[in-house]
């Protein structure tokens, strides 16, 4: 039995982080260079963490599967980043951001972690502005903000519709500066295939060089995973095509617990699926809901063009049902309601699996120039994909998998259950509970990387004598030969079906049985079918070529093989959590009005799963969630 100690510091909520920082042990400046740290992943959390650690003087080795650290999927985040700056003078403060985030996550996150996140949020904006991130400004030269779902204040900072890109380029610049200083060594086009644990501590990694195909081992005093989320388990998602769960999954099999895997986020505003060919789905930023109004015709099967449908014949379902928050309800609520009206037969467009997002009122009110300034690039993206002009006719949107709140279990120091293995950004589970609010992913990634990890990792290293970068221990060769055997096994199947075939099959199964709404029968069915798909995969997959040299089909096959294992854990978790909370909606647990019905008596905990071996049933551990400051209340946005 693993003891789950979240190591939440004592004291009142607002003082916990300061107290803890004051108590964390330090590594002296002269000794820092003797420690080696591995960072896997170069998105916001990985790049900012690696750069900040190097600035402190540690030796950092950075790995990414792309050709450059700048390509990580944080770059695609559009809308913005939250911070409790109160620049808008609308009564925002740290407590309010904390409260909105815990409530938005449906009371399934840790109070202490979220409070810390809200506390450091302001420093992120300061730091990014100092890096030269070109945030939007007003004519007086000050930063401007906009509103996002789940908040009644305007606290979202942005750089047109490319906030993630600009923040990531800021962190990437900081990282490049450290590469030049010699404290960061960069290893691009490397994919982690295993974690090396020796004498109970994370001691290194094995990566596959994606150009030469060779397996390479690297040793360090600590390993940081910043490898992102697993929304691609659904096959179609808004994630980049190479985003995967493999690094986290390898860590899980080496002893790191996986927390809340069933907490997945379905984003309400994506461009609907148009056919089987699609490799991924494209998101339309949540910021559009500041000015766009979501509606469907009141009458089912109404196929008139939207402009001919009179105001009285339109069902603005979010505004009618949630007058206080209107179109800016949190993502899970917006997605479920879109699904509900479509299930009632009110969907629009050729496939009838879409709702309208209409800008005509905003265009009339603000004028085309203002709207173009706010969302121009998003409108262009939409036009390019659909060949329709949102300035003329409403967009058609539908929910799609987007983000995963679940991830590796970490304590307050962001350390997993394996000493020396840290997890930052989307790959950990820590801050968003059962649903993440818009513009909070960028905030969390950068909070972890710039302002939390550099302190807590130091606290861990301070108790540890620096080790040589020695990859000769048996744990390294064991991990490498196991990984090589897995690769050879995939190449040896010589079946007839490409890996993405199985991925698509898995994704469709999950989308229908474990997507926006879940029930016992569907989940049970999925739990039975996933092993069948997995067995078919190992029998029929085609991976032409060999493991030597560059082989993208093999890369894909490795990721799909891991998704096929991981999916089972996701469904198992969803089955066990018989309550509805946030993005996890169990049909058996809803209010009379069809809203999510939480069960705080039985499920007010974090589920953390322990691997018992490749073919064994995993064991669930529970970390009870204790709310000292907030009263557990039913989430209402009405």
């Amino acid at each position: 039995m693993i003891a789950l100690d979240s190591k939440i510091p004592d004291g009142p909520l607002p003082e916990k982080w300061e107290r803890h920082r004051g108590r964390l042990k330090l590594v002296s400046p002269a000794n820092k260079r003797k420690y080696n740290i591995i960072v896997v992943g170069t998105g916001l959390a990985g790049a900012s963490g690696a750069a900040s650690l190097a600035e402190l003087g540690y030796n950092v080795a950075v790995f990414c599967l792309h050709d450059s650290p700048r390509r990580a999927h944080s770059i695609a985040a559009q809308g913005g980043i939250n911070a409790a700056k109160n620049y808008a003078n609308d009564s925002d403060n740290v407590y309010r951001l904390f409260y909105d985030t815990v409530k938005g996550g449906d009371f399934r996150s840790r109070e202490a972690n979220v409070f810390r996140l809200a506390q450091v949020s302001s420093a992120i904006i300061d730091h990014c502005a100092a890096q030269g991130v070109p945030f939007a400004r007003d004519y007086g030269g000050m930063l401007v903000t906009r509103s996002f779902g789940g908040a009644q204040v305007s606290r979202t900072f942005y750089a047109r519709g490319q906030t993630g890109q600009q923040l990531l380029l800021g962190a990437y610049g900081a990282l490049m500066r450290q590469v030049k200083s010699g404290r960061v060594k960069l290893f691009p086009r490397r994919e982690m295939v295993d974690l090396v644990v020796a004498e109970g501590r994370a001691r290194g990694i094995v990566v596959r060089n994606l150009v030469t195909g060779a397996l390479e081992s690297y040793a360090a005093d600590a390993v940081v995973l910043a490898t992102g989320g697993y929304a691609n388990v659904f096959f179609l998602s808004t994630n980049a095509v190479s985003s995967n769960v493999s690094a986290a999954w390898r860590a899980y099999h080496r002893g790191a617990l996986f927390a809340n895997p069933s907490f997945t986020q379905i984003h309400p505003t994506c461009i609907p699926v148009s056919g089987k060919h699609q490799a991924k789905l494209v998101l339309m930023s949540e910021s559009l809901r500041n000015d766009g109004r979501v509606w469907v015709p009141r009458k089912g099967g109404d196929s008139r063009p939207p402009a001919e449908i009179l105001e009285a014949e339109r069902f603005y379902f979010l505004e009618e049902k949630y007058p206080r928050f209107g179109n800016l309800v949190p993502r899970d609520v917006a997605s479920r309601n879109a699904k509900a009206v479509i299930d009632q037969g009110l969907g629009v467009g050729p496939t009838r699996v879409a709702v309208y997002l209409d800008f005509s009122d905003a265009l009339a009110r603000e004028g085309k120039r203002v709207i173009a300034e706010r969302y121009g690039n998003l409108f262009e993206m939409y036009t390019n994909i659909t060949a329709e002009d949102p300035y003329q006719a409403p967009m058609r949107i539908y929910p799609a998998p987007h983000y995963t709140m679940g991830g590796l279990w970490v304590d307050y120091d962001l350390m997993t259950t394996i000493p020396g293995l840290f997890a930052v950004g989307e790959v950990n589970f820590s801050d968003h509970g059962a649903n993440r609010l818009g513009a909070s992913a960028l905030m969390q990634g950068l909070a972890d990387g710039y302002f939390i990890l550099p302190y807590t990792l130091g606290g861990y290293l301070a108790d540890l004598a620096p080790a040589a970068r020695d990859t000769s221990p048996k744990a390294f060769s064991d991990a490498a030969s196991a990984a090589q055997a897995r690769l050879e096994k995939l190449c040896a199947v010589r079946g007839r079906r490409p890996p993405q075939d199985f991925h698509r099959e898995l994704g469709e199964l999950l989308w229908h049985n474990c997507g926006m709404s879940r029930n016992e029968t569907g989940l049970g069915e999925a739990l039975q079918k996933i092993p069948e798909i997995r067995e078919a995969f190992w029998r029929e997959v085609s991976v032409p070529g060999s493991s030597a040299g560059c082989n993208q089909v093999l890369e894909r096959a490795v990721r799909v093989a891991d998704f096929l294992e991981f999916a089972e854990l996701l469904v198992r978790d969803a089955l066990l959590r018989k309550e509805s909370c946030g993005g996890h909606f169990r049909e058996e647990s809803q209010t009379g009005e069809g809203e999510a019905q939480r069960d705080d008596t039985n499920f007010c905990y974090v589920s953390a799963w322990e691997s018992k071996g490749p073919n064994e049933t995993p064991e669930e551990h529970q970390e009870p969630l204790v709310f000292e400051s907030l009263l557990l209340s039913r989430r209402s946005y009405k």
Partner: protein, 255 residues
């Protein structure tokens, strides 16, 4: 729709390459060009043949990973789009489409359509950032920045580092890429502190890498999926001259 694709195949960095012809049937106009390559690859893999290697990731035009010459043009002929955004409705049914990697000696081919652009990281390493450590920043509103400056910086900062400018340039110059970063930071007070060192170091890194020089063809601007302007290059050249002269004078005075 159906298409004939002439695709560059090359076993590895050292092997000679050649064109290989593939047919793509059952294409619909909504498909992106890379989804057509996915389709071709699916059929190859079903037949147990090695798939065509090409780079892509976000598939929505922001990560800058995809990099193909389509009918001789970087990212194809659709204006303001990366090749992952290029839709098949831009092609004639039955057309023969030629697909090659971005061409430049500075971007060596690794396999098929996969190239090595790590040289871009090295140009940024030379100075494409503000030298500020985490924790040292003043309040974000302490330094007002005019809306025009912020917008100007953002225009240049939108560069996705794909390398289309290099591939389109007859001289294989990387000046649009380099100047975009220089212009972005020079537009902001935070970035102006180091502008002189930055322009010298980045131009030197660019030259050392073996990229050519700008001779005002403007092909880079036409090919750029993000609308980065040629005027950035003019600004970089101006800054470079000023900075060179001042630095030389300072050195002379010091000695």
């Amino acid at each position: 729709m159906r298409f004939t694709l002439k695709i560059w195949r090359q076993k590895d960095a050292r092997a000679p390459g050649r064109f290989e012809t593939h047919e793509a049937a059952d294409v619909i106009p909504e498909m992106s060009f890379l989804e057509v390559l996915d389709l071709v690859n699916e059929n190859l893999v079903k037949a147990g043949l090695e798939a065509i290697t090409f780079d892509s990731d976000c598939r929505e035009g922001i990560c800058g990973t995809c990099c193909l010459m389509v009918n001789g043009r970087a990212h194809g002929r659709q204006h303001g789009a990366t090749v992952c955004e290029l839709r098949m409705r831009n092609f004639r049914d039955g057309e023969t489409i030629t697909v090659e990697p971005f061409r430049s000696r500075c971007f060596p081919v690794l396999k098929d359509l996969l190239i090595d652009r790590s040289i871009f990281d090295r140009i940024i390493q030379a100075g494409g950032y503000v030298s500020i450590g985490t924790g040292a920043a003043p309040d974000a509103n302490a330094i007002p920045i005019t809306k025009q400056d912020a917008e100007h910086a953002m225009d240049a900062a939108q560069c996705i580092g794909c390398g289309a400018c290099v591939a389109a340039c007859p001289n294989a110059a990387a000046m649009l890429f380099t100047s975009a970063k220089i212009a972005h930071l020079a537009a902001l007070p935070q970035g102006r502190v180091e502008w002189r060192q930055r322009v010298l170091a980045m131009v030197e890194a660019m030259d050392r890498a073996g990229f050519g020089n700008c001779s005002n063809h403007g092909e880079c601007e036409a090919a750029c999926p993000k609308g980065i302007k040629l005027t950035n290059i003019a600004q970089m050249n101006r800054q470079f001259i000023f900075s060179s002269v001042f630095t030389a004078r300072e050195k002379a005075e010091a000695s």
